[in-house]
Subunit: 199 residues, 2 copies
């Protein structure tokens, strides 16, 4: 099954928001030549992430291939990009023809700006639950969940939650056995140290 997954890059995106799902999708499709996972930015120039990691995009908006799945990470940069009409227009147009529209963390704010969350349930980073509620009374914003699936829109909670969401999607796109295999290859048996560290 031919499939192209596009991950949106922009200045000040949060590194793990992007690379968690990137690892999951690329690991899941290692043995499939017809699956492509690519990074896409407005311009074909290096992007500096929120914590300073510098990435080179595979495509600009102009050269990006048609996508089956789009993933939007969060991070400080969403404050700026939510008001960037070029990015929002591209995302609205691109997402409209995607089988799945997904976000991690405050990437949900960009999906909301595009109208993709209208009338749906969604989530975001715990620190932005109220922000999303205020911006979008028409969205049912859920908290204390790792990810929310509503139709073809899937939103993950903060940062690391993108890993769980991506594994779930692998189970939906292919099958649960492939998701389990991917989890095994990335040795994702998480055991956060220091008990009581949770929210």
């Amino acid at each position: 099954m031919s499939l192209t997954i596009g991950m949106l890059l922009f200045e000040d995106l949060e590194e793990l928001d992007l690379v968690g799902p990137w690892e999951v999708f690329t690991m899941a499709s290692m043995d499939m030549d017809d699956v492509k996972v690519v990074t896409i930015a407005e311009q074909a120039e290096p992007v500096r992430c929120a914590k300073g990691l510098r990435l080179i995009p595979d495509h600009s908006f102009e050269t990006a291939p048609p996508l089956d799945i789009v993933l939007v990470p969060g991070g400080q940069g969403t404050n700026t990009e939510v008001e960037n009409p070029v990015l929002i227009d591209w995302l609205r147009k691109t997402g409209s023809s995607c089988r799945w529209i997904t976000s991690v963390c405050t990437g949900a704010l960009l999906l909301q700006e595009c109208g993709f969350l209208d009338g749906k349930r969604a989530t975001t980073h715990w620190g932005f639950i109220e922000t999303l509620r205020k911006r979008a009374p028409e969205v049912e914003v859920l908290e204390n969940v790792r990810y929310v699936d509503d139709g073809n829109v899937v939103t993950a909670a903060g940062v690391s939650a993108g890993i769980d969401m991506a594994l779930w999607l692998v189970g939906q796109i292919w099958d649960i056995e492939r998701a389990r295999q991917t989890q095994r290859f990335m040795q994702y048996d998480p055991a956060p140290p220091y008990a009581g560290a949770s929210v």
Copy 2:
């Protein structure tokens, strides 16, 4: 407390091996101007990771600052780098003056090549436990653990285990409260979907 953490880049490193700890260390030190987390490659040229993500290093071996902590990711590229005398020499020299020497996944093979694991307990990706044992009879290789601390050498299991190791290190470098706060900011309450997915 001034501190510099250097993360080694090389061709075909595994993306999440690097970016998991990167997220943890940079998130933990957000409010500390005297903490730097940098990427270092042999040459100051873009590096293509194992799954195709392209990174621009902050420093070459020549321009790298003195490090307090070095982190070595794993990935396919370790097969090549374990036989790269320039990288091994740099790592041996750099690690010798570090407070902590750390690896994720098959990055342990590079630590072993430098002699850092001699007479110590260590771990690596589950698929490379026997490889490490064969290479290094003098290393006590542990399996089914997320990370192993022996003296100032800390080795993590495969890919995602670097996140847990880095959070543990934050607790050691600063304090447990900072580790918990970091975990909270990156919303690391992992919940892998599909029960029974574990190794």
